[in-house]
């Protein structure tokens, strides 16, 4: 019979030791909303589960200077309920709010959403669009990498054995900077993104875009930072020509597959639609901060 061990360390160091010491597959548990489903369906048979929820520094949201620091095991509802974070990054909260249901969000964490390494993860594009970094703990100490460096393919991350994400650092927005996240699903909730798109823009006092990041989800093996789409926005206001260029740039970046959730052709079209719509919301929000 398959057996699995469970441990709930109280410190990051203990967690590193437990993960690094496992002979077979060891998995990190935060909310468990992906992990437990995978265990029950038989897709995963880990030897060890390391529960991070008892490590105080891994839960909660802190403001440290120019950063929001979000503990990796923080459940989604705590992000949604954090007024200053919600005001600074409504797009990140939008992504979190789309994960599963209210009950799921009471458990699910953004680190779990990231490290499950699904191209369709809803909280990941807006976090990447915010130029967030992740602090990783491991047998060789701590390192900090851009969030987009972590997922390398469906179900695969760049984390080495014994490594896990401890926290995210999100640089606080500049004046007239704001974001938005949209996803498309055939229903209205409880579904997986067919396409997701986050847009994070900074405007000058006149409403012209001076910085932008456009990130697509579910249209390639990993989330895509679409530089060409950002370039379509920078130096421009959101007029019809800019929107058309953004749409085309988003479409061109897509490398999707056809599966039960959508076809290649459809996903490409929708990427363009969502990029335009998310940009419109982000511009409006940023302009409102003037």
């Amino acid at each position: 019979m398959p057996r699995v061990s469970y441990t709930a360390p109280a410190t990051v160091d203990e967690a590193v030791k437990a993960l690094a010491g496992a002979a077979g597959l060891a998995k990190v548990l935060s909310g468990g909303t992906d992990l437990l489903v995978q265990l029950k369906s038989g897709r995963l048979a880990p030897e060890l589960i390391v529960d991070m929820k008892r490590i105080p520094e891994m839960i909660g949201i802190r403001e440290e200077g120019e950063f929001f620091v979000i503990g990796a095991a923080t459940p989604g509802v705590m992000l949604s309920a954090h007024e200053r974070l919600e005001h600074a990054f409504p797009g990140i909260v939008e992504g979190v709010d789309l994960i599963g249901s209210t009950q799921i969000q009471g458990r699910a964490s953004i680190a779990g959403n990231l490290c499950n390494a699904s191209p369709a993860a809803d909280s990941v594009p807006p976090v990447i669009a915010a130029r967030a970094t992740a602090v990783i703990a491991g047998p060789n100490g701590r390192r900090e990498v851009a969030v987009e460096a972590i997922v390398i393919g469906p179900g695969r991350t760049s984390l080495a054995k014994g490594e896990f994400v401890v926290e995210f650092k999100v640089p606080k927005p500049k004046p007239r900077q704001c974001d938005a996240y949209l996803r498309f699903i055939p229903r209205t909730e409880m579904d997986i993104a067919v396409v997701g798109c986050a847009v994070n823009v900074t405007l000058d006092a006149g409403g012209t875009c001076i910085d932008a990041r456009v990130v697509l989800g579910a249209v390639a093996p990993t989330q895509l930072i679409v530089d060409e789409a950002a370039q379509a926005l920078i130096g421009h206001k959101l007029d019809a020509d800019t929107l058309a260029k953004l749409d085309l740039a988003a479409q061109r970046a897509c490398k999707p597959i056809t599966d039960k959730r959508g076809t290649i052709e459809y996903r490409i079209k929708i990427a363009g639609v969502l990029a335009r719509r998310a940009a419109a919301i982000a511009f409006e929000r940023a302009a409102a901060r003037a």
């Binding site: 055939p186 229903r187 209205t188 409880m190 997986i192 479409q251 039960k260 459809y266 079209k269 929708i270």
Partner: protein, 763 residues
């Protein structure tokens, strides 16, 4: 006796709380998976990973060697039974096929087909052992699609299947189990008389009934051969009969207890697990419990049939239909028996058409055997006939509601499938739809409105019920139909009305097969009609007895006693002068006046009233994503008499919701090996609450004179019109006709792109 005068009713037509409600809300109700027995084992079914394969050998040695494994069964442990056709539930059933569906014999016919089962001391051990059962397969070519399966060179599932209904009998086996026809008048003549003709082809996808409760049972085979079954089904007598047949057990040796049912919608009118669990229990000498996973439910049970529907209408320019033709090719799944008959009969049932030709094909393919689902077959054909009628209305430039009025079936109309209508309320649903405020709400850009009608037969059948007067003046109703939609409340209400006492003083229970008389299963929208009739008659017999007892107490003739508002009164001054006796007072003295007061009635209820409905649907289309939002929905239905209006509305809203799911997103996704790729609620997209508008149920009451209270079945016809109503609304919104279900966002966007080609990166 009848109680058709609505004004005189005190209980029927009110909205009391259902007796099973509180336990269901707080999670205390015992569903299929909730029961335990001492020493119980856990069963697990091993299933085929292939769509079509010959079973060359099954080796259970490794599985049997796992500590904790107590028994393993294969088809060799079920008796081989001869082909025997019976019409049960809402469709034909062959017991040989049912046995092979529960446990594959010789060949597996679909991904998920059961091949063996294990009983062990824990679910984990059973699962591990099931995975260790070694089945050697010879994989065969498979076929999924209905028209592919009909091709002459298609892989044949059953080499003894020769198409019935073709003269002469074909020499070659095929996947076409049956060809059926219905004719009225002379279609060729009618087609010649037509001034406007239209011909269209539509397709529907198989959809799962998607009940929230997976199949589950707990069974025990005693050392003396007496068996108990606790399971979730739409009929404990059905479970008992099928298990007796499939395992060769005397019916008297089976006691089947119905669990609370977490949805069935027709999908629990047959057995999957119970015969397997019985075989395991017999072998292991212990009780065995089996609970399916959601994945097993999708791969191994249901669905409703999908198919191809070809429709022709010929009309005069003034809108009168003169000819209609319908060809239905319906999927049966792995064994014959799709609901092609009802599909053929329901498509034109709403209309008076002089010349009609209908042909149906029952086609097997490598998918799970279809099971009943709310008005089986009717949603398929009606999606075609009601979409096509809308297309004809556009062609004729006649309002779609008006076109339906012109051709509506009325009292005395001879339907294409045979019967001459009496006491039907179809035109009344059209009148109510026309008068409804919904029709006057203005539509915005990219919004559209669709109308569609539908028909379902409703059935009666065998039912038994007992009414017991308790010593404190309350009453107990005992019957045998699992309560899928509030029927316990309705039964108690009808009994309370007849007895003249408060609803709260009557409790209805659904009893096991050894504790009540035979009731045919809960299906065909029959329970409130047929079992309700039995309950009413039993309550009437109790009233006769109560009057007799009062007469005895007063020492007058029973004929001189009246029963009113739960009390016995002297019939008039000549009867004598006595204070009225209440039911409670008579009950208290029952021991001294002849013993306990009760009555049982067993009937075969005849005269079920046909159900007609007309739905109005408004949609808004997101032209960029192809997403369809249902803005508002009004469902008008002739319900005969609503015994409990809230539960009638619930049936209507539930049927519409399922119909909208069928219309917009639900479909099975198979990979190239014929394996189901979306066996779960994440990717099999039934509607979620936020997808739905408030559905307004409008109840038209044209009483059915064959039922004491005028009731008609109400549970099935609500799923018949929605797919066409949605398609007609989409066509109204965007000017493009969607003829293939589901009308999902990618399909809609593709259709819109044909109208207005977008700027694409690929260009």
């Amino acid at each position: 006796m009848t109680y058709l005068d609505k004004a005189s009713l005190k209980v029927v037509g009110t909205r009391p709380i259902r007796p099973d409600g509180v336990d269901k809300v707080i999670g205390r109700a015992a569903f299929g998976a909730d029961m335990v027995l001492p020493g119980m084992l856990w069963g697990k079914v091993a299933r085929s990973p292939h769509a079509h394969a010959r079973i060359k050998s099954i080796n259970i040695d490794k599985a049997l060697a796992v500590p904790g494994v107590k028994a393993i069964v294969t088809s060799a442990d079920l008796p081989a039974i001869p082909s025997e056709e019976a019409f049960v539930g809402e469709g034909p059933m062959n017991f040989r096929d049912l046995s092979s569906n529960c446990m594959a014999r010789g060949k597996v016919l679909y991904d998920g087909h059961a091949v063996a089962a294990v009983a062990a001391t824990s679910p984990a051990i059973a699962e591990e052992a099931a995975a260790l059962i070694e089945v050697e397969y010879e994989v065969l070519p498979h076929v999924i699609d209905v028209e592919d399966a009909m091709k002459p060179d298609a892989p044949v599932l059953h080499d003894d299947l020769f198409t019935q209904g073709i003269d002469p009998k074909p020499a070659k086996a095929s996947n076409i189990a049956k060809r059926i026809t219905f004719t009225k008048g002379d279609f060729a003549q009618g087609w010649k008389e037509a001034e406007v003709t239209i011909e269209r082809r539509y397709t529907t996808q198989p959809v799962h009934q998607a009940y929230i409760e997976p199949h589950a049972c707990l069974v025990s085979v005693g050392a003396d051969g007496q068996c108990t079954i606790f399971s979730s089904s739409q009929g404990q007598f059905m479970v008992r009969a099928y298990c007796a047949k499939l395992l060769g057990i005397d019916i008297a040796n089976i006691r089947a207890t119905p669990a609370e049912i977490g949805g069935g919608f027709g999908g629990k009118t047959l057995v999957y697990l119970e015969p397997v669990a019985l075989a395991l229990s017999k072998k292991a000498g212990k009780p065995v419990k089996i609970v399916m996973s959601r994945e097993e439910v999708f791969r191994g049970t249901g669905p409703a049939a999908g198919g191809v529907i070809e429709v022709k209408y010929g009309a005069k320019k003034d809108g009168r239909l003169v000819a209609a033709e319908l060809v239905v090719k319906l999927q049966a799944g792995a064994f014959p028996g799709s609901p092609v008959g009802p599909a053929c009969m329901c498509g034109f049932a709403m209309y008076d058409i002089p010349h009609v030709n209908i042909v149906g094909y029952d086609v097997v393919s490598n998918r799970p055997k279809v099971a009943a689902y709310r008005a089986p077959g009717a949603p398929n054909s009606t999606f075609g006939t009601e979409s096509c009628l809308d297309e004809l209305a556009i062609e004729l430039k006649i309002d779609p509601l008006k076109l339906r009025e012109i051709n509506a079936a009325k009292e005395g109309t001879k339907a294409a499938h045979g019967p001459t209508w009496a006491n039907i309320g179809y035109t009344q649903t059209l009148d109510a739809a026309k008068a409804h405020p919904h029709m006057k709400i203005a539509l915005g850009p990219n919004q559209g409105r669709g109308i569609a009608s539908g028909f379902w037969f409703n059935i009666g059948g065998e039912s038994a019920a007992s009414v017991y007067v308790n010593e404190d003046g309350t009453a107990t109703v005992v019957e045998g139909n699992p309560d899928v939609g509030g029927s316990r409340a309705s039964m108690a209400m009808m009994a309370a009305e007849v007895l003249g006492i408060a609803y709260e003083r009557v409790r209805a229970v659904v009893a096991d097969t050894s504790s009540t008389g035979y009731c045919f299963l809960t299906g065909g929208s029959r329970v409130t009609f047929a079992t309700g009739m039995a309950v009413t008659q039993a309550a009437e017999k109790v009233v006769v007895e109560l009057k007799k007892r009062a007469a005895m107490i007063w020492d007058i003739s029973p004929d001189a006693v009246d029963w009113k508002d739960g009390k016995a009164y002297p019939a008039g001054p000549n009867a004598g002068s006595f204070e009225p006796l209440s039911l409670g007072e008579i009950a208290l003295k029952a021991g001294r006046t002849g013993g306990p007061i009760s009555a049982e009635v067993s009937i075969n209820a005849q005269g079920a009233g046909a159900g007609f409905a007309t739905h109005i649907c408004d949609v808004e289309i997101d032209r960029e994503t192809g997403h369809v939002k249902v803005l508002r929905y009004t469902a008008v239905q002739d319900v005969g008499r609503a015994i409990h209006p809230s539960y009638v509305e619930g049936q209507i809203q539930g049927g519409v919701t399922q119909g909208i799911g069928w219309a917009l997103n639900e479909e099975y996704v198979y990979d190239k090996h014929g394996r189901l790729d979306n066996a779960g609620f994440l990717d099999y997209r039934i509607p979620v609450a936020s997808d739905m508008p408030m559905i307004e149920a409008v109840m038209v009451e044209v009483p059915n004179p064959r039922h004491p209270f005028g009731a008609r079945g109400v549970g099935e016809v609500p799923i018949v019109p929605p797919m066409a109503a949605v398609a007609n609304a989409i066509a109204d919104a965007i000017g493009t006709r969607m003829r293939d279900l589901p009308m999902s966002p990618p399909k809609l966007r593709a259709a819109l792109d044909l109208q207005d080609p977008p700027r694409l990166a690929a260009e």
